[in-house]
């Protein structure tokens, strides 16, 4: 039996397809990105080694840092919005009839492609005929905002569909975690005279802290690499007001054929993502494991 279950040929044969695909299409490209960053290269012609020049330029590139700032702002919004999602999940998990149905309704936007969501919200935000401004005009607003065309508010306008898209996802995760809390703990607190607010804040929240930390990491990482929706809605405009790290990199490589510099930006995106993951994990590391 043990001999059969350690058949080397069989193991090799079965692990090989997954290993090759992952190695060739994920790990090797990752290393190559860092390597291409050392080159001057238009993507077609021959490469010219220029050392760390691209990376030094990225560090001094105002457009890159402005884009990074937008990415971090989105990460901040996303993290703060977790509070709303958590509150909704708390309500949903408090013996509400139809909770199962409601959380499915909340999840629907998450199933749509970012492209479809972007196109839909372009229509919603359309200054003259969009749903939003029609409602605002109906309420008597004289000059409703231009939303995506106004550089001062474009980032906020983009964030609303992001909030809309991911709400159901986070509510679902929090709801599942809250449902995992044993009823006896909550009952005991009630008998001791705790108010619903106290139960939510002092008992339920600490018990699902592990899940909350995971979602903070997910929200921050997800925001730092956000691309599809912004690319379709504004292309980073107007005038770079909604440019993020990924869209800047994409423009450099695939619109300007600046593959070397684009790779350096892509590598910075990877480093920043890994670094932030590490920092967030460290900051939220468990000091004491709560158990029930």
């Amino acid at each position: 039996m043990n001999k059969v279950m350690s058949d080397k040929w069989f193991i090799t044969l079965y692990i090989l397809p997954a290993m090759l695909l992952l190695g060739i299409l994920i790990f090797i490209p990752l290393v190559l990105t860092g390597y291409y960053g050392l080159m001057r290269w238009d993507g077609i012609g021959s490469m010219e080694f220029i050392g760390l020049a691209n990376y030094i330029n990225v560090l001094q590139d105002g457009v890159f840092w402005r884009s990074a700032g937008h990415s971090f702002l989105l990460a901040l919004f996303s993290t703060l919005s977790l509070i709303i999602y958590l509150a909704v999940a708390m309500i949903l998990a408090s013996k509400i009839k139809g909770a199962d149905f409601l959380r499915k309704i909340y999840l629907i936007p998450m199933l749509l492609s970012s492209v479809a969501i972007a196109q839909l919200w372009i229509k919603i935000y359309n200054p003259s005929n969009g749903m939003l401004n029609e409602i605002l005009r109906g309420l008597g607003v004289q000059n409703p905002p231009l939303w995506l065309a106004d550089p001062n508010i474009v980032l906020y306008s983009i964030f609303v569909p992001i909030l809309w898209q991911y709400a159901g996802f986070y509510i679902l995760i929090y709801y599942a975690a809250l449902k995992g809390i044993p009823e006896s703990i909550v009952e005991a607190a009630k008998i001791d005279g705790a108010t619903p607010i106290q139960i939510a804040y002092k008992i339920k929240l600490p018990l699902i802290m592990g899940v909350v930390k995971v979602t903070v990491v997910l929200a921050i990482i997800g925001s730092l690499k956000y691309f599809d929706l912004i690319w379709v809605m504004t292309g980073g405009g107007p005038n770079g007001a909604s440019e993020v790290m990924a869209s800047y990199m994409y423009k450099l490589a695939f619109a300007n054929n600046n593959f070397g510099y684009g790779s350096a930006v892509a590598f910075m995106l990877l480093l920043i993502t890994l670094l932030v993951t590490l920092i967030v994990r460290k900051l939220t590391a468990d000091k004491e494991e709560l158990q029930y």
Binding site: M1, L22, I26, P29, Y36, L107, Q119, E134, Y250, F254
Partner: protein
């Protein structure tokens, strides 16, 4: 909590539900209206005369081709991902060998990689083997990038398969291939279908890879194809609405039938820590 308290909670939950659902309802409504009605009427009004013509127009305009590409690329990628992922997870969880922890770790690292950090080398690799503007570049990429998450969902289930099942099969003289294809895969159907649906949502909605690797219209999938349509029907909102509805309908229909599977899959794919 008193009655009024519960009433207020329901109001809150209903507001969230309306916020989540209304934009989609509005989309369905304007996909069935003509421009005159969209621009002049209330956004909440039902269409006075249902304009199926919008759907006929975009279908004749060639959206069927994008739709077909999305279907086969999504389907083939799901099949390959599920096969390769379950093969790898089988030998990692069930076979006795030294490097299984190492390979497991390697696959899980794949979960953390942002796709934009590997996009440029992928493009130049596909270019050098003539796979740019070839749908197989998309199938290969989807398969590879969905492997880690699929393996992660399968892992928990495969660990719980009882040893006795394997022992009985081997003693009966079954080969390892027979054990895997004849016994392990069939008993894994529930978890495999969960991963299939999660893969379907990812593949159907993917945009960046197709936008980067495919340039000919005949190979484009819906997510990139609808971009062309929106450009083409710039001012015809009804047609754009119909295009978007066609692109999201398969996923919504899948959700109608498999909502529990989707909920399971999404929760197990998220809490990976």
């Amino acid at each position: 909590m008193g009655r009024i308290g519960y009433f207020l909670l329901y109001i809150c939950l209903s507001i969230v539900a309306v916020f989540q659902i209304f934009p989609i309802v509005w989309l369905f409504l304007f996909s069935l209206k003509d421009n005159r009605e969209i621009f002049a009427g209330s956004p909440f009004a039902l269409p006075s005369e249902i304009q199926w013509q919008n759907y006929v127009n975009v279908w004749q305009g060639g959206i069927g081709n994008y739709f077909f590409n999305s279907v086969w690329i999504t389907g083939v990628s799901i099949a390959l991902t599920l096969l390769f992922a379950s093969m790898a997870v089988f030998v990692i969880t069930r076979m006795t060998w030294k490097l299984n922890k190492f390979f497991l770790g390697l696959f899980m690292v794949g979960l953390m990689i942002p796709i934009h950090s590997s996009l440029i080398p992928l493009f130049s690799m596909f270019l050098s083997v003539n796979l740019i503007d070839n749908p197989w570049s998309i199938v290969l990429t989807y398969t590879a990038y969905n492997l880690p998450i699929t393996m992660m969902i399968l892992l928990g289930f495969f660990y719980t398969i009882p040893r006795e099942i394997e022992e009985a099969a081997i003693i009966d003289g079954a080969s390892l291939h027979r054990l895997f294809f004849g016994i392990i895969l069939p008993i894994s159907t529930p978890i495999l279908s969960t991963t299939a649906i999660i893969n379907m949502i990812y593949n159907w909605n993917e945009f960046v890879f197709v936008n980067t690797f495919i340039s000919s219209d005949r190979y484009k999938t819906l997510t990139v194809g609808i971009q062309n349509f929106v450009g083409q029907y710039m001012t015809d909102w009804g047609a754009i609405g119909a295009t978007l509805v066609i692109s999201v309908l398969p996923i919504l229909i899948a959700f109608l039938f498999f909502s529990n599977k989707i909920v399971d899959g999404i929760s197990s794919s998220a809490v990976k820590g």
